[in-house]
Symmetry: C2
Subunit: 243 residues, 2 copies
């Protein structure tokens, strides 16, 4: 892990850009820490630069409560090299949506499967590097992003103790099967009237999770309209499980 | 409103039993109040004596946050006079459940319609009497109990500003129609794996509510297993809307 820049934000949070191999990422750590901080891995749909304001907002809120946070760019997004297959899958998705056609399982599989296969080992390598830093201890939570990545991480990565998942639109059948193997506490956010979202699929996925403690919070307000109080509830979920 | 007993609980909360006409009820007020308190009307499924420990627990928690709370016995429950029709409807319900038969709309209507017709004016008269007390101001919230009563109150009683509703099992079609007329902020609790509960019906009812701000919190744990943190989230909902 190579740190490529460091800046002190006005609330005392230290923001460091890094690269791990070819993967760029950002680490935020609270200003004053007396002991190694618990860590939240912040997911997103890809495109770090565009997502930066929202991610930094979440990271600074987490830092105020004593957490370190980190995110990495997704494969084939932002400034990372493109993949012809990923571009084709995205184009096919856009075409289907534009034509008002259903998005087939075949498109969803081509869109999501390679992403999960590539991203999950990158997140795990990032976790190795982060937990080697003296200022970061654990436990570790995962928050948001592509739900199939969150589900796979919850299944394969024993260092993740709890996850906040955002109900998403394109979920392959394989994610439902993996969901049954998830046992960590989950807090799932669903925007009830999100036009780009398949609500019934989100409810079915929530039902499929094997976790004994799982909570669904459904709110109004469209895809990016998660109310501030819902964010605070997610923070309290982490406070219950990462302390 | 006639107060029939008064006791000071160990946390300084004043608990007073009352009757309003033939309806018995309980009022809890915080020990130290400098100004008229906001009020939470606490619903329940009927049978005040049996429900007392849970209701008093909720009322004392509310008092710690500065709210007065009150509840009344439901028609034909507890020590109130029985109704032959209500007894018959309950017997038919038990028989259907015992025989593993579906509970028909006809039984649900006979069970719920008269209850709503009778209980809602009693709650409103109770509200008149409570708001006439100098120690109670407003705003007013309604919490829990038979969901069809909560929905009707939310529609017809303009003094109720926000409601916490518990997804229930026996909901007549008429409640769905009334749900569309509800506009106050709602916080709906659903026990996801409640065997006695029709989950899909609860989700459909949540969808039907006309409120711009409505939140669904689904948790695991069976009918009476609402986790403590879910109660705290409901309190914070009231804190946002009754202050």
């Amino acid at each position: 892990m190579q740190f490529t820049s460091e800046q002190l934000l006005d609330d005392g949070v230290v923001e460091r850009a890094f690269t791990l191999g070819e993967v760029p990422g950002i680490l935020w750590t609270p200003g004053s820490v007396s002991e190694p901080a618990p860590l939240i891995l912040i997911g997103h749909p890809g495109g770090l630069d565009k997502m930066y304001p929202r991610l930094a907002g979440r990271a600074r809120q987490a830092a105020a409560e004593g957490y370190a946070s980190a995110t990495i760019e997704l494969p084939w997004s932002g400034d990372r090299p493109k993949s012809a297959e990923a571009e084709q899958a995205r184009a096919d998705l856009r075409r289907a949506i534009g034509a008002g056609e259903p998005v087939t399982d075949e498109i969803v599989d081509r869109l999501i499967h390679p992403l999960v296969e590539q991203a999950v080992p990158e997140w795990r390598a990032t976790l190795d590097a982060l937990l080697a830093l003296p200022e970061i201890g654990g436990p570790v939570g995962f928050s948001g992003g592509v739900i199939s990545i969150g589900v796979r991480l919850a299944v394969v990565e024993p260092r993740i103790s709890a996850a906040v998942l955002f109900a998403g639109s394109y979920v392959p059948r394989s994610t439902f099967e993996e969901a049954r193997q998830v046992t960590i506490p989950l807090h799932v956010l669903l925007q009830w009237d999100d036009e780009g979202n398949d609500r019934q699929m989100a409810l079915d996925l929530f039902d499929a999770f094997g976790s004994k403690e799982k909570t669904l919070h459904a709110n109004m307000g469209g895809h990016t309209g998660v109310p501030a109080f819902a964010g605070e509830e997610a923070n309290r979920f982490f406070a219950r499980h990462l302390r």
